[in-house]
């Protein structure tokens, strides 16, 4: 009966078992991407029960995101925003990245954001020996109308003026909130089956032909409809898993590796990342990867139905347009 719209599955089971079905549905709506049966009005259900010929096309609502997913998602938005902007403030205190255990002025750098005063203030980014002029944006940008030497511009840092101590206060406060939020999300997602049910791709989804088709569909901005829209597509699953299982834990671990206190407690971290300065560089690269993810993520939200997507992450309700079983 896979093609049946969700409420009819239970409508046909009749009066006595409907209670049980509703109870288990209620639990599952709390936990993940499940139909919103329990919230459907009785009248609607009996109407469906007495009428197998539902009018198509129609719009149904499913419970797209559990309350924990929604709360942790928005807390994550808050935390990552503050972490990024205060992180850029911290980076500005020494805008150079190295590889290995040590690195300071004069040591070979992987990346430098700097200012050159030879011919008027000019900013540059130097990546492994290649220098790119970036005046106005990176290296030199305007502060109160004056070109000022600072790696990231004042609109991109918290606080806007150079204040490492304040930047660190914001950073570590939100780092704690982010870690606690992450623990809640991971604990919930493992116990509820969110990872297994909603995020783990199936063998079929990972086949090159399927992935190839999804990539082409995405490129043509054709997004899944009807039954397929009820769950994440394979590219979504892979992108979310990469963020949740790789990038975000990497941010925490490389951040901790920069701590001399943590390095004494957990020396293996230093070995894993090849040194404190390598960890700092990976922290920066991973943060950049997250920024790219967010840009693509927001673009996809807008292109695949802005309000429906945002509503589903706020209230949980996600509208699905159904053409009908034979469409």
């Amino acid at each position: 009966m896979a093609w049946f719209p969700p409420c009819e599955d239970h409508a046909v089971t009749g009066g006595s078992s409907r209670l049980t079905a509703s109870a288990s549905d209620y639990r599952s709506t709390l936990l993940g991407l499940q139909p919103l049966n329990a919230q459907m009005k009785d009248a609607e259900m009996s109407a469906d029960a007495s009428n197998d010929n539902v009018q198509y096309p129609r719009t149904i609502f499913i419970r797209r995101h559990s309350v924990v997913t929604r709360l942790t998602h928005w807390l994550n938005v808050l935390c990552l925003s503050f972490l990024l902007l205060s992180g850029l403030q911290i980076f500005n205190a020494h805008p150079e990245l190295y590889w290995g255990h040590y690195g300071a002025d004069g040591d070979p750098a992987v990346l430098t954001i700097g200012a050159d005063d030879a011919a008027g203030p000019s900013g540059f980014v130097r990546v492994v020996g290649v220098q790119i002029p970036t005046t106005g944006m990176l290296g030199v940008s305007e502060v109160d109308g004056e070109p000022t030497a600072r790696a990231f511009p004042s609109w991109a840092t918290i606080p806007s003026f150079q204040d490492l101590a304040a930047g660190r206060r914001w950073h570590f406060f939100f780092a704690w909130l982010f870690v606690i939020n992450g623990i809640v999300y991971f604990g919930f997602s493992l116990l509820s089956g969110h990872f297994r049910r909603d995020l783990a791709p199936t063998a079929h989804e990972l086949s090159p032909s399927h992935l190839g088709r999804e990539v082409l569909d995405h490129a043509r901005l054709r997004f899944p409809k009807g039954e397929e829209a009820k769950r994440y597509n394979a590219l979504q699953k892979l992108a979310y898993l990469a963020v949740v299982v790789i990038l975000l834990p990497l941010m925490v671990l490389t951040g901790l590796t920069m701590s001399p206190g943590i390095d004494a407690a957990l020396p293996a971290l230093v070995d894993i990342f090849g040194g404190r300065q390598s960890a700092r560089t990976i922290h920066f690269i991973t943060a950049s990867a997250l920024v790219i993810f967010v840009i693509v993520h927001v673009a996809m939200v807008v292109l695949s139905g802005t309000w429906n997507n945002i509503r589903s992450m706020v209230t949980g309700r996600y509208a699905i347009h159904e053409e009908g079983p034979n469409a």
Binding site: H94, H101, D144, A166, F173, D263, A264, R276
Partner: protein, 258 residues
Amino acid sequence: MSTFLTRRRFLIGSSLGASALTLSGCDLLDQNADVANILRSAEQLTMKAQRLLQGRDALAREFDEKDISPSFRVNGTSVPDSEEYAELLEGKFANWRLKIDGLVDQPREFSLADLRVLPSRTQITRHDCVEGWSAIGKWTGVPLGSLLHLTGLKPTARYVVLHCADELEKTLDGSGRYYESIDLIDAVHPQTILAYQMNGQDLSVGHGAPLRLRVERQLGYKQAKYIMRIELVDSFAGLWGGNGGYWEDRGYEWYAGI
């Protein structure tokens, strides 16, 4: 540090001036005392979590000779600007004495020669600046714990305060003088030493001659240079800004483990 004064004056000027209007919401929040206190609550959490993970004696990594940085940046003060220090330097610190007083059973003074004959510890460790850079150096000195063993501690002693010869900011009341403090857990940690040698040579002026602290599980600003006096206290509330250190009085965390 004239650049610091300029920046400080600039900050004061700009916050009083018209540019205050352009401060973003976060800047306003940042200057709110309640917000600052909420943000600072994370510092306690960090310290408790790190202490729990470390236990008392977890050691900072020690490196090999080959890992030593080719250059080690001189940070903060490069030469203390006082007649007293200039005279001590000219006399090759023969007249320098380390005073240990406060809440100790027996206040003591040590000359550099006294310290050199005490059992020493040599360690090659990574110095991590709060700004983000790191350098590896070899340090030789007397474990702070063994000096405190010689003086004895009153039961009320809780913190070790290091008073330094350098003034990082010129002020009329002397509040720009460098000082630092650590608690007794860090003070008796095996790698916490008062170093008189760096990379096999007498400590240079830039790196804190004649004596500097190494407290290896914390950031660079805790590694006080130009130590003149060590004072045992039960609280650092009465010292200068009351936050336990020069940078702490300027907004940085007292526990600098991250």
